[in-house]
Amino acid sequence: MGPLSRLNHFFWEYKYLFVPGLLFTMVSAGFQITVPMVVRQAVDSIPRFVRLYSLYEGTPAQAEFYAYFFVTLILFALVIVALSGTSGLFMFLMRQTVVVASRHIEYDLRNDLYTHLQRLSSTFYQEYATGDVITRATDDIEKVRRYIGPAIMYVTRSLVMVLVAASAMFVISPTLTLYALTPLPLLAIAVFFMARMVHRRSDLLQQQYSTLTSRVQEALSGIRVVKAYTREQAEAEAFDEESRGYRTRNLDLAWVESAWRPSFLLLVGVSTVIVVWVGGRLVAEGAITIGNIAEYIIYINMMTWPVASLGFVITMIQRASASVLRLQKIMDRAPDIADGPQTNPSIQTLEGRIAFRDVWYRYEDEEEPALRGVSFDLPADHTLAVVGRTGSGKSTLVRMIPRLLDPDSGTVEIDGHDLQTIPLDTVRRHMGYVPQDVFLFSDTVANNIAFGDLDADREEIRRAAAEADLLDNVADFPDGFDTHVGERGITLSGGQKQRTSIARALIRNPRVLIFDDALSAVDTATERNILRSLRERQGNHTLVIVSHRLSAVQEADLILVMEQGEVVQRGTHETLVAEEGLYADLHEKQMLEEEIQAF
């Protein structure tokens, strides 16, 4: 079983479902197996009854016999119905325990996975594509569930059925049993191989489906190129080719699936034919009765699925093991940004003094370091601005402050403590962060803002929105603050999103507020309004602003100019404009742009 043993504790945890479940399985199978015995009794009794009945033809006793047989036959019928009913009841209970347990375990597994995902840092998310994570949380867990629930149920049921039925058959006639059962192991083997073929071929089909999908995706995303180079015909032919491939794969799969029922039919049918043939001879020899033949036919039918399911179960288990391994890869991953032995739990509040001491950082898939020896000191309640060209390391720098990244070397300090000694919860609780790429949840505007502070009431939400200059927009939304945004709601403009994201950070009244190029999508007037609100808060928080636009940083107490991961200039707006260098260039450029716009 290997990797699957990791799941064993679940069986223990849900023993109150599994133990009765397995009992129900056996009881159900037991009752089901007895039905054919009664049928045999009935079938064998009928000719005897008929003979007896005709023996008393013309005598008064005949009527008495009729009543007697009538009752007996009704009894046979009732016993069959009762047995079948009881078996059915237990079958019901079996599914309601074992399969239900598997759903509980699925639920637990998925929660565990999600909880773990929340602990993992951005390095993990850079490594794994979102789709990959989703597949694990859905498909892989489902495959594991099939092993836990249905697979175990089938195995138990099959074993009980096969053992009981085979012994019942054996008692009647060992010869006939041997003959009749010969095709059944073949059936299990055939099912195993076919199930494997089906799985393999559907994997291939799935692959081709992805190819086909990406082909469409690409042709449509690149439609300009396709049209500009008049490649429509060629693209269409390439698409035909992939569609043909898909058709072929589909038919490959159809081939196995079409062979599925017939092979099933053939193997079961052969067993029935053997029963009639060999059984017929035995009846002629007087070794067994015709009732036995009926009984055997029912047994064979009854055993078919349990035996075949054994073939399934093997592939189910194989798939589940692979899935467990895939899940483990995530579950065994230790969170790289987390509290540790160095954490000092007594630090519960932050003042907001930030210092970088020779901080270096390099992203894993890049050659050049993104930060090279960055150092600065920022007293609490002051404003820091970071400017520079795209890719100069600005965002990397500010991501270190809330510990979205840990430096490769050097230290980040807050209030004189190494950031890594402050409990992560304390760090995050006192920070408000507005990221460069705005991310909102598909929820209402109010909930998106209150994401920053769950206890916030409407008034506070309104105030935060006002500070972020969002209030007028909200008034225009169909349901005001209760308007849904995102997929199933309205689409916000880039600027509106950015301001919602700002409100979300402001509502926290954080000790440290970080704007990572968070004003890029708003116009200058809005920018001015937001900056004014920030100014009103001045003295209540440490503010860190990354910006392309210099207008946003002019009032900062400290401006860092970054280039290729290094701080190349530092000072205030006044000192930097006076100095020859990147800052002055950027400043001049911006003045010109404004002039051109006004042209």
């Binding site: 078996s87 449509l220 009639v276 009846v283 919860d425 995050r428």
Partner: protein, 621 residues
């Protein structure tokens, strides 16, 4: 009973939308099957055969028991056994043929529909793609078409097959003993009712579980993407609870589904056993009454009581299949019914070669209208002429309308007012193909198809040979760049770690354009993020590319166009200034400002640097 669990595995299908049956839609779907009429007829015959052979077997078993086993005629028994085996093998082969053939028919029809759809979408103009999300079209061409596949393959033929089967089972039962047949058939309505009851509830539950699964998907998708927000705002605990809530709803939906399954399978088993008990009881009584009821008949009926179930269940599935297909068909046909493609001119002007004159005459263009229906003009009364062999540059700030000039010249969009002439012909009188073949376009954001560099250069055109490609690459000096890649021309351009910078991609686009050797070149220069080395390469490549060729270039780096024959300065949709570099500088107007801006942050000592920002690359990939 036979495949109790198979339903857990293979039939987890359901309709997502309730859909009424629409005859018009059905007829339209049928048109895709029309080419395969004879195959369908064949499939029907095969199905008919398979449907007889199944119910024939219990009948043969009856003969075996009554005529041979009871009387001990082993010789005769062998004959019956032979027939049984033949019937069995026959049924097996026929049902295989039926399954495969119907699948084959379905796949052919699906292929036809899918490729028709693709061709239809592909010929739509760019404006269509502006208002139709690519994701939606992909869904139409893949999963919606897929929904039709089951209906195409197994719809009619198999449904008829199930009816045949029911008919033959009844037929054989009545031939054997009509009274027992009636007794057995009495449970049929119950079985039908249970099956449909089950189907209805399970369908609802499946819809629910799918909905919940989709919620889980969305939640994870959203929270994986925004995990940093969750972490930054310390919302782990609350989000975990929300997730557990959704997960719990999902579980609850499944638990209800389990409940229906838990009732359904035992009920079916129970009902067929009731039929069995009734047959034994009634049969026994009739036997005493002196009727001709034999043991063989009893055994046959025991089997028939169990054969009924499958066709009933399969029929109940058909309803769902068809509904899903209708929903898919409606969406797919919806795409096919929207045709915005440009009409081909009735008498197109034939062109073999272009001189290269391009004239814009008072061109007005808007991508869209505002709420009141007034067009939001992007080009306002633009007029200019490019003479053969000339190099004309368009400059201006972002949003000035430069790229739009290209878009309307290549007729990606139709202008609303004015005329665009190429060699004196209105472009609306030319075949689109001719127009675009003779005017080569190099866009700013070069789109790379997945696959090798070679594929991206030749666009899989078999007419382009290796030599031509290599020569073109050499001409623009892209050969060094390509040869430096680990796999050279066979390098997969989208593979991790081999991402090409914007400048490098544009070089590839130059090669691509050169291979197709157009008479007129339209070029949208790459903006920023070009490293000095590539910049120099591009510069030289441009010179070779435009040599003696009519060229219309959108320039972002004014350094590249100082030799242009004419420079048009665009601003807010209008041509504000025109002239040569020197003339324009002397004017000291907009051009001058743009020129200064360009050099503002390129002061001495800070050379422009290609910083190949990672975010950029990812957007492209």
């Amino acid at each position: 009973m036979a495949d109790d669990a198979s339903d857990d595995h293979f039939e987890e299908d359901s309709v997502d939308e309730v859909h009424t049956f629409d005859g018009r839609l059905l007829r339209r779907m049928a048109r895709y099957l029309a080419p395969y009429t004879w195959y369908i007829v064949l499939a029907l015959f095969i199905t008919l055969g398979a449907s007889v052979l199944g119910p024939l077997r219990p009948w043969l078993v009856q003969k075996a028991i009554d005529n041979y086993i009871v009387v001990g005629d082993l010789q005769g028994l062998q004959w019956i056994i032979l027939f049984l085996v033949l019937a069995l093998v026959g049924e097996g082969l026929l049902s295989f043929a039926e399954n495969y053939l119907t699948q084959w028919i379905g796949q052919q029809a699906i292929y036809d529909l899918r490729t028709t759809l693709f061709r239809h979408v592909e010929k739509q103009p760019l404006s269509y793609f502006d208002h139709t999300p690519v994701g939606r079209i992909i869904t139409r061409a893949t999963s919606d078409v897929e929904a039709l596949s089951d209906a195409f393959s197994s719809g009619l033929v198999t449904a008829l097959g199930d009816l045949f089967k029911l008919f033959f089972i009844a037929y054989f039962m009545f031939t054997l003993n009509w009274e027992l047949a009636v007794v057995t058939l009495l449970v049929m309505p119950l079985m039908v009712w249970v099956t449909f009851w089950f189907r209805r509830n399970v369908r609802e539950q499946y819809r629910e579980t799918r909905k919940q699964m989709a919620r889980i998907n969305t939640f994870i998708q959203e929270h994986v993407t925004g995990m940093h927000i969750v972490q930054l705002f310390g919302r782990e605990e609350e989000e975990k609870e929300r997730f557990e809530g959704i997960n719990d709803d999902h579980r609850a939906a499944h638990l209800r589904t389990i409940f229906y399954y838990a009732i359904f399978w035992p009920s079916i088993e129970f009902i067929s056993n009731v039929a069995l008990a009734a047959v034994l009881w009634f049969g026994g009584l009739r036997a005493m009454g002196g009727s001709a009821l034999t043991l063989g008949v009893l055994v046959a009926f025991i089997q028939y009581a169990r054969q009924f179930f499958r066709p009933i269940r399969d029929l109940s599935n058909k309803y769902d299949t068809l509904q899903r297909a209708m929903a898919g068909a409606e969406r797919v046909f919806g795409v096919l019914d929207t045709d915005e493609s440009l009409e081909a001119p009735e008498a197109p002007v034939e062109i073999d070669e272009l001189e290269g004159t391009i004239e814009f005459e008072n061109v007005w263009f808007a991508y869209e209208e505002d709420n009141e229906g007034t067009p939001d003009w992007v080009l306002k009364d633009v007029s200019f002429t490019v003479e053969p062999g000339e190099m004309v540059a368009l400059v201006g700030a972002t949003g000035a309308g430069k790229s739009t000039v290209m878009n309307v010249l290549l007729r990606f969009y139709e202008i609303q007012k004015g005329r665009i002439l190429v060699d004196g012909h209105d472009i609306r009188d030319l075949r689109l193909k001719d127009l675009r073949e003779h005017i080569g376009l190099i866009p700013q954001d070069v789109f790379l198809f997945s696959g090798s560099v070679r594929r991206n250069l030749t666009l899989d055109d078999p007419g382009v040979d290796e030599d031509l490609m290599r020569r073109a690459a050499k001409t623009v000096q892209a050969d060094q760049l390509i040869e430096r890649l680990p796999d050279g021309y066979d390098q997969d351009v989208k593979e991790r770690g081999s991402s090409l910078s914007r400048g490098q991609r544009q070089l590839l686009a130059f090669v691509r354009a050169l291979i197709y050797d157009p008479d007129v070149m339209v070029l949208d220069e790459a903006t920023s993020s070009v490293d000095t080395e590539t910049e120099a390469l591009i510069q030289q490549a441009l010179e070779r590319l435009t040599e003696g060729r009519t060229t219309l270039a959108i320039a972002h780096r004014l350094s590249t166009i100082q030799d242009a024959d004419k420079i048009l300065v665009m601003h807010k949709g209008e041509v504000r200034e025109r002239g040569t570099h020197k003339e324009l500088l002397a004017m000291d107007g907009l051009y001058r400002k743009l020129y200064d801006l360009q050099y503002a942050d390129q002061a001495p000592g800070t050379p422009p640097r290609g910083d190949g920002e990672p975010a950029d690359e990812r957007v492209q990939a």
